[in-house]
């Protein structure tokens, strides 16, 4: 006899409906066959399902059983097919009414005693259920609050196979599931706690307002990490859609944690310098798993000690920086993950860290300096608009009995949101910022006053700014003007942008080479 139910396969950041067909043959040797490109984790479902079914005091059918996961050409991974397969076997063996399970989508991993374990990607599954207008989703009770976020999908939280069976027999009323709460605003580091660094704080605000990526240069202990950690707190508050996108990704990555709450704070990811390409952009066998760039989606990716990252690893960031998504092709197929993040790269001024430090000499050899510069001026620099130089704080500043504390993160965020609003009106999309609109679009809106035009022309000549360099200065100047609510770009905006312009490394090389 044949029974049908549905489950989902996770493909990138989305779930796709999978039909689960179970056929119990009338004759033949007692075997179990699972077809439809299952990965090892799916094949093992047989053992778990068998034990779980017998936990219901129902004898595993001693017949030829075939389970098919359709579409057959899509590779399937994960342990969440267990529940659908078990229900299918029970229905095909006439223990359950086949009609009852037909229009439900079931996800859940079975334990040998029949209880149901949490799985990844329940939020994405619920979204798919709504899209395909299925009746409802049967999912592990731990994950149910994720699914309950999606309106119009009936969520049934089950904690054991027995509950699922009794639910379909109409003998068990599932408990009401509350959607997961937004995460309690954690103690985000406040910008007000940062002493000194006035220029850097302003740079951070400009970066947040225009969506610019930035490079921080400073000696060890000058506070690069401290400042970077404060960027998420001044970026605009996440919209519900952004929250859903991030929560969905974290659900798929299995990183939602015990609290299981809707992510409302922007992620901050700081991968270690020895990270592999697969770790950074995503990868793995079969279908790729999300990497750090996707976990930093809508938030901040902080690369500390930029020069210690492998060059090819940094190179891999180009795509996501350009497009905001990462496309990963592996043996199991191509998947897309969102990767829309703000990049903060930090580096010492030189390998020993004390170049141009007023109190300690630099002990690097020319070759070390050259290698260091080669890495920082490498592949990423095209996508970085702002460079901040951090001074080591003096003793007085460190002690600084709360002298001038500056603005709080909340106050800065308000200004940033205002500037973003200006950009939203101008470009007509929340995804477009001064940092990433196409050059042509920027140019039509980057109107310079005559004085500003002269200043820019002078500095192009003086600093040998490249075409790309000029565009970067204009992007930053546009953001500064937006922060001040100015329609066109004034000389002081250009001057501020020039102050923040990227490394004079090339200029410096030219000076050293004697030009």
């Amino acid at each position: 006899m044949l029974a049908k139910t549905e489950s989902v396969a996770l493909v990138g950041s989305d779930a796709r409906l999978i039909e689960v067909e179970v056929h119990v043959a009338l004759g033949g040797l007692p075997t179990f066959r699972l077809v439809g490109l299952p990965a090892k984790s799916v094949v093992e479902a047989e053992q778990r399902t068998r034990a779980a079914v017998e936990s219901l005091d129902h004898r595993w059918p001693q017949k030829r059983i075939t389970a098919n996961l359709a579409p057959g050409a899509l590779r399937k991974e994960g342990t969440h097919f267990d529940l659908a397969i078990a229900l299918g076997v029970l229905a095909a063996d006439k223990r359950l009414d086949g009609q009852a399970i037909a229009d439900w989508v079931c996800v859940g991993e079975l334990a040998l005693d029949g209880s149901i374990r949490p799985v990844r990607g329940v939020l994405a599954s619920a979204i798919e259920c709504r899209r395909a207008e299925r009746r409802g989703l049967l999912c592990p009770s731990v994950n149910a609050p994720e699914a309950a976020l999606i309106e119009g999908v009936e969520t049934v939280a089950v904690s054991s196979l027995r509950e699922a069976v009794e639910f379909f027999e109409g003998r068990w009323d599932p408990p009401k599931v509350l959607p997961m709460p937004p995460d309690v605003e954690p103690l985000v580091e406040d910008l007000r706690e940062v002493r000194g660094h006035e220029g850097a704080k302003r740079g951070l605000e400009i970066a947040a307002a225009g969506g610019h990526n930035l490079l921080m240069i400073g000696s060890p202990g000058s506070g690069k990490t401290m400042l970077a950690q404060r960027l998420p707190g001044i970026l605009p508050e996440m919209s519900f859609e952004e929250s859903m996108e991030v929560t969905k990704l974290y659900s798929i990555a299995g990183l939602l944690g015990e609290g299981r709450s809707l992510i409302r704070t922007r992620p901050f990811r700081a991968p270690h310098q020895h990270i592999s390409t697969a770790g950074l952009i995503g990868g793995g066998h079969g279908l790729a798993r999300p990497g750090e760039v996707s976990l930093a989606d809508r938030g901040v990716l902080f690369l500390d000690e930029l020069s210690l990252f492998r060059r090819d690893v940094l190179e891999s960031l180009r795509g996501p920086l350009e497009e905001g998504v990462i496309r990963l092709a592996r043996s199991g197929g191509v998947v897309n993950y969102p990767a829309n993040f703000s990049l903060i790269a930090a580096t010492n001024p030189c390998p020993c860290g004390f170049k141009e430090d007023p109190y300690r000499g630099c002990t690097c050899t020319p070759r070390q300096l050259r290698d260091h510069d080669a890495v920082i001026s490498g592949p990423l620099l095209d996508r970085i608009d702002i460079q901040l130089v951090l001074d080591r704080l003096t003793r007085d500043e460190l002690m600084g009995a709360g002298a001038e504390q500056g603005d709080s993160s909340a106050a800065v965020r308000e200004r940033v949101e205002k500037a973003r609003l200006v950009q939203l009106e101008r470009y007509g999309s929340a995804l477009k910022t001064n940092a990433n609109v196409p050059k042509r679009e920027l140019m039509t809106h980057a109107e310079l006053t005559p004085a500003a035009r002269t200043d820019l022309a002078d500095s192009i000549e003086k600093h040998h700014l490249s075409g790309r360099g000029v565009t970067r200065v204009l992007r930053v100047a546009r953001t500064i003007a937006d922060l001040e609510g100015a329609g066109s770009i004034y000389p002081e905006h250009i001057a501020d942008a020039l102050l923040l312009r990227l490394c004079a490394i090339e200029e410096h090389f030219q000076a050293e080479a004697g030009r």
Partner: protein, 300 residues
């Protein structure tokens, strides 16, 4: 190629090399390019490979002025100060002698290969090492004694405590040569060498080509180029920022603090100063004063 061996019996062998007597004069030199010149006509400009932009500019200026005054600039073809000195002399159309720590046919440092070729053609390459000898570490102190030997005086532009430049200065003193040094900011790590020499009274402080000639008691018809005429007058604010800039690079933040002016106005002023060539942005994004800036700041 005009490569040749020069021994003490050749007319080209200069007096300076013999004067190295107490400290092991070379037995043979391999020379390429123009003939060696008597010691009286040679001044060495030496310093660290890891120089500051200011040091580089100074060395270049010295090389240029010395060449214009008819001197031959001797140095070691290393990166940094040496390169600047050679380049300055060549730019002035003068003669320069580069003393190598490797064979004449070995390009070292690689980044100076072109300069090495140029000097071979328009100046002189000198080495104690035979063809094909690689640049080994111990060749360099030996090379330094030849620099000292060939020259009438040695000018140390920048160098740390243990730099080759200081070795050259020491060898020059031993050979009874004049040693001059450019005083540096106490916070400039590569200014320690020259400052140390000056403090011990071993070197005469010099800050311009004119002073080099004066302290060597040389009568030369060399005049410092007059400052660029019509230096646009500076506003009070610009002057204030200019004064806050020192030889040590400072950040915009530090300027704000030193002058008490708001960041916006400091940014505007800095960018104006930079465009006019009075200030310059360093490798990592700090600001320092330029030569022109210094003149302008002194003039007011």
């Amino acid at each position: 190629m005009n490569m040749r061996q020069v021994t003490p019996r050749d007319p080209e062998w200069t007096d300076g090399l013999n004067a190295l007597d107490p400290i092991d004069p070379p037995e043979v030199l391999f020379v390429e390019g123009r003939p060696l010149v008597p010691r009286k006509k040679c001044v060495a400009v030496v310093g660290t490979r890891r120089c500051t932009v200011t040091g580089f500019e100074l060395a270049m200026e010295f090389g240029q002025a010395l060449a214009e005054a008819g001197f031959v600039v001797v140095s070691g073809l290393a990166m940094g100060i040496d390169t600047a000195a050679h380049r300055g002399a060549l730019e002035a159309g003068g003669h320069t002698i580069a003393v190598l720590g490797c064979g004449l046919d070995v390009a070292f440092p690689e980044r100076n290969a072109i300069l090495q070729k140029k000097i071979g053609a328009r100046g002189t390459l000198v080495t104690e090492q035979s063809l094909g000898t690689p640049p080994l570490a111990h060749h360099f102190p030996a090379r330094n004694r030849i620099i000292a030997g060939l020259s009438h005086a040695v000018v140390v532009v920048e160098g740390g405590f243990k730099s080759g430049a200081l070795i050259t200065a020491r060898l020059a003193l031993d050979a009874n040569r004049e040693v001059l040094a450019v005083p540096a900011s106490p916070r400039n790590p590569v200014g320690r060498g020259p400052n140390h020499l000056i403090r011990l009274g071993e070197a005469t402080p010099v800050t311009s080509p004119q002073e080099i000639f004066e302290s060597l008691e040389l009568e030369v018809a060399w005049r410092e180029a007059p400052p660029t005429p019509g230096q646009p007058d500076l506003e009070a604010g610009e002057l204030e920022v200019l004064h806050a800039l020192g030889a040590d690079s400072v950040s915009a933040d530090q300027i704000c603090r030193a002058t008490g002016r708001p960041p916006g106005s400091v940014a505007l002023t800095l960018s104006k100063l930079e465009i006019r060539g009075l200030a310059r942005r360093t490798r990592i994004g700090r600001y320092e004063i330029t030569r022109t800036g210094l003149n302008a700041s002194l003039a007011t």
